[in-house]
């Protein structure tokens, strides 16, 4: 795939504070790429650099092979969906969407047909004459989206566009957004701090931490194979234990947590880099009342100390080994799992592949 957007050695300072450093990345044409990170990680600044609202201090940005690092926003073939929508309050829905098309110099009938086609896309036909103040949050969000989409930009930038919506509407807009992206085939660069949102929407996720690229990969890679403690933690990996020691043993690593538990992890997934932590997602551990025999590579004995009922899952805090607490998420719809209660003695089991080692 060809790169539509490229960052080379990008660096950005606010005063003396480094906001972005050493950003090297290619965005492929037609992909849905997400910048994921906590607030202050530089993800929005990176997006604003692409939009042209901030200049980089060092490095270059290329759009379709042309350098745009210092081009003003109105000369870049990218468009932004702003976090607060930034709809023009003095213009109605039609005028808002036509705003950018008028700058391109299209004739009236062409503008009308294009506005109509994008309004159809988001089911807002009939709302042309409404003003932004008369729309619901979800409707405003859709108008902001198509106002940028209608420009057919080389890259569409979305700055936490769903942040202001309530949970239910947010889920709905997520699937709409994904469907829309598939349909129009444009390159989307999306910014969010919500890891679930990033997982469900993206083709590729870029995790940012303190202005640096922490990890770039598919949602599965980021979720299942975090390369650092930061990524693991940010992706909701609740079981992270520092390692006391590590041995190579044929095809597997034998590691010991500081609590003294022995854990086996296949070598294949962890080539050369230094590792300091072991981690596993709570949902990847099974709970058994009796020792399950040789079906699993890892079996730990523990006692249930706390339980948290979450509707579709039940999360248990299990004390194992030397005062280490392991979180286990038990699916309540899996009939093979048994019911447990506090102070039960249980066995934690998982396949070696489900655990990860990272730095």
């Amino acid at each position: 795939m060809s790169a539509v957007l490229e960052f080379r050695g990008l660096r950005k300072l606010f005063g003396k504070q480094v906001v972005l450093e050493d950003i090297n990345l290619s965005v492929c044409a037609g992909e849905f790429l997400t910048f994921l990170g906590p607030s202050g990680s530089g993800k929005t600044t990176l997006l604003r650099l692409v939009g042209g609202f901030e200049p980089p201090d060092e490095g270059h940005i290329f759009l379709q092979g042309e350098e745009i690092s210092h081009l003003p926003p109105h000369k870049r073939r990218v468009n932004t969906v702003f976090q607060n929508y930034a709809l023009f309050p003095h213009l109605n829905v039609f005028q808002n969407i036509a705003f950018g098309l008028q700058n391109v110099g299209l004739d009236k009938t062409e503008i009308e047909s294009r506005v109509k086609s994008v309004l159809e896309m988001v089911q807002l036909i009939g709302y042309e004459l409404r003003f932004p103040g008369q729309l619901s949050g979800g409707q405003q969000q859709r108008v902001a989206l198509v106002r940028a989409l209608v420009m057919q930009p080389a890259v569409l930038l979305l700055d936490e566009p769903l942040g202001a919506l309530d949970q239910k509407l947010r889920k709905q807009m997520q699937s709409e957004l994904k469907a829309l992206q598939r349909k129009v085939g444009l390159t989307f660069v999306f910014v969010t701090h919500d890891q679930e949102e990033a997982l469900s929407l993206s083709d590729r996720i870029v995790v940012l931490n303190q202005g640096r690229l922490e990890q770039v990969g598919s949602p599965q890679e980021i979720y299942d194979r975090p390369k650092s403690r930061f990524v693991a933690d940010f992706m909701g990996m609740q079981n992270i234990f520092p390692l006391a020691s590590l041995q190579e043993n044929g095809e597997i690593y034998r590691c010991w947590t500081q609590g003294g538990q022995e854990i086996h992890v296949p070598k294949a997934n962890h080539p050369t880099s230094e590792v300091h932590f072991f981690g596993i997602h709570p949902a990847k551990i099974r709970l058994k009342r009796t020792p399950p025999g040789n079906h699993f590579d890892n079996i730990l004995k523990g006692i249930i100390r706390q339980g948290l009922y979450l509707g579709s899952t039940h999360t248990w805090a299990v004390e194992a080994g030397n005062c280490e607490t392991w979180m286990v998420a038990q699916s309540l719809y899996d009939s093979s799992d048994e019911g447990f209660s506090l102070q039960d003695e249980v066995y934690l089991c998982w396949d070696g592949n489900n655990g990860v080692l990272f730095s």
Binding site: F53, P73, T80
Partner: protein, 291 residues
């Protein structure tokens, strides 16, 4: 029950709260206006007294060509003042509104209002010192060899315009600042994002969104400029009388109070008419927005 509770939150009868303002308005504006109306419909006695017999002669006289010229000059100068203030105030208000630091914002606003600490009369005298033939500007220009004979900067329409613009500028800056400060700054980014150059953004986003502030500023500057008295009196020449000076001279110099009253009343009516028109137009644009 609910009714009672609401009343306790509304701090008593609202009529009572506007009573002080109402009384003040009646005695300081309503009553004098009524007196002026009565005077304007009376006749002048030989030694300046007022003969209360009804007459329209003052109004007929006020429409004579001689005075028409004064009205025309007043309207022209007021319009020019308003336009210049608008052009000068917009960048200033925008600059202040864009400041991120609240301290700098407040300091700049303080500077804008600083001139109010001194009487307008004294500040206008200062302009005489700056503009006169042997004044600050002329002396420097001659000294630097840019001109050989001093320019006539004082006692003409130009000097009045300078004085008016100087005096009214804060009244344009402040309402513009208020709307620009409230405006969502990301709208400007959205405009640039959608392909507008900074100039296009100014006319397509900034101006429409600051319309209410522009109207407020225009009214606050135009009306006092139209009836201005100190600036034209001190800075203007014999040939640049404005309607404010005409009225003043009728009362204080010529002692023709009925005629002065008629001109004053006409001025009030014109100002009110302009206010109604501006109210209608802004209201219509607001209604269009809701449609």
């Amino acid at each position: 029950m609910i009714q009672k509770q609401q009343r306790s939150y509304s701090h008593g009868n609202p009529i009572l709260w506007i009573m002080p303002a109402f009384v003040w308005l009646v005695f300081s504006i309503g009553l004098p206006l009524l007196i002026i109306l009565v005077f304007s419909l009376s006749r002048r006695q030989t030694y300046g007294g007022i003969d209360l017999r009804f007459s329209l002669s003052n109004y007929l006289r006020s429409l004579e060509l001689l005075y028409g010229l004064i009205y025309f000059r007043s309207l022209g100068l007021a319009a020019a003042t308003t336009l210049l203030c608008l052009i000068l105030a917009f960048p200033v208000a925008y600059f202040i509104a864009l400041q991120r630091s609240a301290f700098i914002k407040n300091f700049l606003l303080f500077l804008v209002t600083l001139p109010f600490w001194t009487s307008f009369l004294i500040r206008t005298y200062a302009w005489i010192i700056i503009l006169r033939t042997e004044g600050l500007i002329n002396n420097r220009l001659v000294e630097w060899g840019i001109i050989s004979t001093p320019l006539n900067l004082l006692y003409n329409n130009f000097a009045i315009l300078v004085g008016l613009v100087y005096g009214e500028l804060p009244f344009m800056i402040l309402p513009l600042y208020t709307v620009l400060e409230k405006m969502e700054k990301s709208l400007l980014e959205a405009s640039a994002d959608l392909g507008c150059s900074p100039w296009k953004t100014f006319f397509r986003v900034l101006v429409p969104l600051s319309r209410s502030g522009i109207w407020a500023g225009v009214i606050l500057v135009f009306i006092p400029s139209l009836g201005a008295f100190i600036a034209p009196d001190l800075l203007g020449g014999a040939k640049s009388m404005m309607v404010g000076n005409l009225i003043q001279s009728q009362f204080a110099v010529v002692r023709d109070q009925p005629f002065g009253s008629a001109v004053a009343f006409l001025l009030t009516v014109v100002v009110l008419a302009l206010l109604v028109i501006s109210y209608r137009t802004t209201k219509r644009s607001a209604e269009l927005r809701i449609l």
